[in-house]
Structure formats: structure tokens, C-alpha cells
Amino acid sequence: MLRQLKKKYFIDLGSTLASTFILCIYLFVGWYFFNWLIIDGVWVGDANICKNSSGACVSFLKEKFTFILFGVYPREYLYRPILGIVLLVIGWIHFTKKKNWNNLLFVKFLVLMIIYFVLLSGFGENKVETSKWGGLPLTLLLSIVGVAISYPVGILLALGRTSKQAVPRYLSIVYIELIRGVPLISILFMSSVLIPLFLPDGITINKLFRAQLAIIFFSSAYFAEVVRGGLNSIPKGQWEGAKSIGLNYIQTIKLVILPQALVKVIPPTVNTMIGMFKDTSLVIIIALFDLMGTTKASMTDSKWLGFSVEAYFLCAVIYFIICSRMGRFSKKVEEEFQRSH
């Protein structure tokens, strides 16, 4: 095995120089980090000890861990969001297995989301208001519901855009180009400030819902473009074959075109999902406390000031783990697809 390593990284002078240089960089960063976190790191002790040390204030993270993860969710009911997250992880593992891809998938997904929502919300005496939801469960909720609704909407938009009828086509084009041409922030602003102005008296929509709507508006346009790419890659012969056996437009789309198109664009679709998941962090700008928001809030505690780097580090690790898992799934699907073609 050592010989394989040598062959890969040290095969000639150029390789050796490059490998040594890069190795030095890695070692330097690694050592600095190790020093910061482990050797100089303050694992036990209060804020004063931390401030006098040059290492990481791990006790800050220990103190704030629950807050960063769950926000101000009542502590006695914490088992509910924890259970919710566990269920979501199990769901992810289940849904990413190819053999489970059938029509029952949608039903299972819907049931899972309802259970998740009920867990977070509770009822009767144990009800927890949406204003108290925060941290990772909120991020997951915004992303998953966001994807669940904007993906089908995106499919409809893509179908509209490739339609031969002028009305659906122009409406879709205007919507897609408008949304894709502006930053997510402006849509979040729009939804949080403008939506109440469009509502009749007496009806209010809470902030969480408004943010969710904004995310759905935004992502559906991006999914629409991804699906459109898939639709365009289906050869004309497929349409002709379907017509020749008497299928109508809706049947052709549902049974012939979409199954092929959607599978073909799984990599960019998952990329868009990862992007959406990261974009939920923007809701901090309209004062919602998702994972990014709670991280920032944890730094404002007057007893623990100045440990922003530690907090950002924890937040980054959580995002990194989730995003790279999704990315790995996308790569796996892409490789499988390459192999079978």
C-alpha cells in the first residue's frame, strides 16, 4: 500500500515537489487547528478562563449546544424535535435506496412530513407555537417542505414553458425569468413585508409561513429550469412512439417523458436541493431563527462574548455534514447512471 502511495504522489520530481508543498499546507493547517481545539482548547471552565486562553472555548459550545441546535424550543419537550430529526434521517436512508422508488414513496413522504409537523407542534396542553421553533428542526422543515412543494411546481412550470400553447408558455417564461433574475433576499423581503398588504382584513399569515412561501416561489423557478433541461433531452422519437400507441398528452408526460427526464437530471436536481438547504440560512435576515439564526444569537449572550469563531465552526460542521451527504448521494446516482449507459 505504501508503494501505491509513492506511485501516486511521488512518481517524479514535479509530483514530489507538489505533494510536499501541499502536504506542508495541510500539516500546517491541521497542526494549527489541533492546537486551537485540543491543546489550547478550554474544555472545562467559564467565560473568563476562555477569554484568557488563545484556544477554542469548547465550554462555550457545550453551554450553547442545545440552543444552537434547537433555539428557544421548550426544554421539556425537546424529545419531540429530536425524534423528528431521527425520523427524517431514517426517511432519507430509506428514500435514497433505489428499490424503494415507487408510487408509494409519495404517500410515505407525506405521512413522514405530517408526523414531523405534529411532533414539532404538539397539541392541546403540549402545543408549541411556531414562533418558538428554531435551529436545526426549523432549517430542516423549511428545506424539506420547500423542496416537496417547489419540485412539483417546478415540473408544472417546466411543462408550461415547453408547451406549444402561448399562454402557459409566456406565463411560465415571465415567472421563471423574473424569479431567477433577482436575489433570494428580495423575495424574502417581498414576502415578509408585502404579503400582509395583499391580504384581506382579519387574515394574517405568520412569519414562518411567509418565509416558507418565499422559499417555494424561489426554488420552483430553479427546479423548473433543471426539469426543462431534462425534458429537452428526451428525443422526439419518444413522443412519437407514445402517440403511435394512442396515449394522450397527460399520459405521455406521466408515463413516458417525465420518468425518463427526471431521472436523467437527478444530479442537477440534487444540487439545487443542496443549494436550497443552504439558502434557508437567509431567513435570519427577516428575523427567523433557523440554524444560522440561533448560531448568531448564541454569540450575543453577554456572559459569553467574543466566541463567534467557535459558534460558526460548529454551525459549519453541521451544514457540511448534511450537504456533503446529499452530494455523495448525487454522485452515487450519477455513477450508476453512467454505468448503465
Binding site: 501516486k8 504522489y9 520530481l13 514535479g14 509530483s15 515537489l17 507538489a18 505533494s19 508543498f21 501541499i22 502536504l23 499546507i25 400553447q165 402561448a166 399562454v167 402557459p168 406565463l171 425569468e177 423574473l178 431567477r180 433574475g181 433577482v182 436575489p183 433570494l184 433576499i185 428580495s186 423581503f189 417581498m190 413585508v193 408585502l194 400582509p196 398588504l197 395583499f198 391580504l199 384581506p200 382584513d201 394522450n248 443542496i274 443552504k278 439558502d279 440560512s281 437567509l282 435570519i284 435576515i285 444560522m292 448560531t295 448568531k296 467574543g306 463567534s308 469563531v309 460558526y312 454551525c315 459549519a316 451544514y319 457540511f320 450537504c323 456533503s324 452530494g327
Partner: protein
């Protein structure tokens, strides 16, 4: 029957049109009702009012007595500045890491993949907050600023030496770019082995030499602590620096991926055919590889430039006074959210339509 199908799709279209128009109408009338009920002003008249707030950095002269219109213009220029600088440097970063990613030296390929992997899996906002925290929390005050090679890093910003005359500064920048391009050509064509290494070494020597020569001939203004402030040199605010670093590093990773796949998309046989008729590496790149690669990569690259410009709107989260930041402040002061959000969207939309135009222009002049 055919007639039935055509009719039903027309009816379907008409139905959609009616629903959409109908909902717009009802939403609009509700909006008017609500606005008048809450006594909120409408219209763009507020643009002529005095803004009443300061802006921390501006490319044109501005003070709090100027109008909202002027304030928004300041924001617009700040957005353009960030977008231009960010696009340029993230493309450069993307070139460097993209080429590294197809290197035969596994260490370089690994380094490029690590960079791309880490940056793409962490939200941009988090990266921005991190860089900003670096400046505001980690960097010391101006009295104890970190200093090296005449550069000062403090929580008030990034201070660096410049030449006293601005003409000389442009000359200097121009010479550096020209020098590097020349060294690139030289290493590509005249050097047989270790082209990459020679380019790096010669480039470092060249840049250092240039700095040396210029600083001997022309007077330099270096930042120095004087009293409670730093005078001399030029500075970039922490807001600018963190937004720039975050945007460039983040977008650079996406650019690197695009450039990498753009080069890999070119069949190996093209390289071989070009070499076999005696073209040198520069000619090969210029006439065979890059024209083909460019066609593949240009749309996604432009889309990344657009993304960078849109992402610059996150400036509002760290206090860089871009267009969205200033519009946000104005929104809070005047309450005229609809007009301002409309302006924000109009501004970005026009930039995005402009780039679509550019893309179409290029698409038409190159062969399909």
C-alpha cells in the same frame, strides 16, 4: 378527435389566463384598500426627500442631506464595484483551481477537490459571517495591528501601501498583469518540462522584482499609526473585505468546477491531433482547445457571474452599503416597501437580462 383536442387545449389556456388575471386583479384591489386604510404613502416621490442617514463607503460624494435617490445610487455603484471585483477574482481563482483539478499531479488535484468540497458545502452567509467575525472579533485594534510587508490588518480594515500617484498605481497594476501574461506565454512555449513550476517561480520573481523596481523609482505611501488613526496608504473596510473574500472564495469553487469540466469535455484526441501537426502548447490552447471549451463553459460561467452579483445582496447582513442594504434602510425609514422592493428587483432583473443578451450574442456568433 383532433378538433376536440385543439379546442380543449385552447379552453385550458383561456382558463389559466382568466384565473391568473382574476387573482392579480383581486390581489391588487385588496392591496389598494389596505394601503389607503393604513395611510401608507405610495409612489416614488419619496426619492426626492432627504435621506438623513450616513453611508460608510461611497464611490461618489454623499452626505446625510442628500436625497434617497442619491443614496440608492451610491448603493448601486457599491454593488457594481463588488460585482466587478468579485467576478474578476473569482474567475481567476476558478482558473487556478480548475486547472489544478485536471493536473496529473495527484496532490494538486486533491487540493483542488478539497477546496471545492469544503466551500460548496457551507452556506455563503455563514462564510460571510465568518470572515466578518475574523475582522471584528479576531483582528486587533489599530494600535496593535498585525503588520507584514507594509500591510496592516486591524479590526478597522485592511491597510496597504500604494504609490503616491494614482497614475503610477495603474501603471503598476498594468505592468504586473502584462508581466504575468508574458511569463505565462514563455513557460508555455519556450520551456520543455516543469512548465507549471517555472511559471510559478518566474511569476513570483517577476512580481517581487516589479514591486522592488517601482518602489525605488516612485514614492510610496505606506500606512502608519498616527495617534488613534492610521494615515497613509489605502484601506479596504472590514465589510468590503469580508464580502469580497466570501463571495470570491465561494463562487471561485463553482467556477473551478465549470472550467474543469469544460476542459475535460474536450476529447483527448483533439490535444493529440493538434500536437501531431506541430502546434505548440500555446497555439494548441488558443486555436483548438479554448475555443471548444469556451463554448461549453460560457453559459454556466455567465450564470455564476450573475449568481455572484445576486449573492452580493447578502451585504445587508454584514453592513456593506450595497443597493439592498441602502434600500433596506430606506424601507425602514419611509415604510415604502413596495416601491423599494420593486426597485431592488428591477435593478437585478436588468443586470440579468443584460447578461442573457450577452450570452445570446455570443451564442449566435459561434457555430451551433
Amino acid at each position: 378527435m383532433n378538433i376536440n383536442k385543439k379546442l380543449s387545449s385552447k379552453i385550458f389556456s383561456a382558463a389559466i389566463l382568466i384565473i391568473v388575471l382574476g387573482s392579480f386583479y383581486s390581489l391588487f384591489s385588496q392591496l389598494q384598500h389596505n394601503l389607503s386604510a393604513q395611510n401608507v404613502a405610495t409612489g416614488f416621490g419619496f426619492l426626492e426627500y432627504e435621506a438623513g442617514f450616513e453611508i460608510s463607503e461611497s464611490m461618489i460624494s454623499y452626505d446625510s442631506f442628500d436625497t434617497y435617490k442619491k443614496a440608492l445610487t451610491v448603493g448601486f455603484f457599491n454593488t457594481l464595484k463588488m460585482a466587478a471585483v468579485g467576478c474578476a477574482f473569482s474567475f481567476l481563482l476558478g482558473l487556478i483551481f480548475g486547472v489544478m483539478g485536471i493536473s496529473k499531479k495527484h496532490a494538486l488535484k486533491n487540493f483542488s477537490e478539497t477546496y471545492i468540497n469544503i466551500t460548496r458545502n457551507i452556506p455563503l452567509l455563514l462564510q460571510l459571517f465568518f470572515w466578518y467575525a475574523l475582522f471584528t472579533d479576531i483582528f486587533p485594534s489599530v494600535r496593535n495591528a498585525h503588520s507584514f510587508f507594509g500591510i496592516l490588518l486591524s479590526n478597522r480594515g485592511f491597510y496597504f501601501p500604494v504609490f503616491s500617484s494614482s497614475v503610477v498605481n495603474y501603471l503598476f497594476a498594468f505592468s504586473i498583469v502584462l508581466l504575468n501574461l508574458g511569463i505565462f506565454y514563455f513557460s508555455l512555449v519556450k520551456i520543455k518540462k516543469y512548465k507549471g513550476l517555472s511559471f510559478i517561480l518566474l511569476s513570483i520573481v517577476g512580481v517581487v522584482g516589479c514591486i522592488f523596481i517601482f518602489s525605488i523609482i516612485f514614492p510610496v505611501s505606506a500606512p502608519k499609526l498616527q495617534g488613534f488613526n492610521i494615515s497613509g496608504g489605502k484601506s479596504l473596510s472590514p465589510e468590503f473585505c469580508s464580502l469580497f473574500l466570501g463571495l470570491t472564495i465561494y463562487t471561485g469553487a463553482f467556477m473551478a468546477e465549470i472550467i474543469r469540466s469544460g476542459i475535460l469535455a474536450i476529447d483527448k484526441g483533439q490535444w493529440e491531433a493538434g500536437r501531431s501537426i506541430g502546434l505548440n502548447d500555446y497555439q494548441l490552447l488558443r486555436y483548438v482547445i479554448i475555443p471548444q471549451s469556451f463554448k461549453v463553459s460560457l453559459p454556466p460561467l455567465i450564470s455564476q457571474f450573475l449568481n455572484l452579483t445576486k449573492n452580493s445582496s447578502l451585504a445587508v447582513a454584514i453592513g456593506y452599503p450595497d443597493f439592498v442594504s441602502i434600500a433596506n434602510t430606506s424601507m425602514n425609514q419611509t415604510g415604502q416597501a413596495i416601491e423599494l422592493v420593486g426597485l431592488i428587483m428591477a435593478m437585478y432583473l436588468s443586470l440579468s437580462l443584460l447578461s442573457s443578451g450577452v450570452l445570446n450574442f455570443f451564442g449566435r456568433s459561434s457555430r451551433a
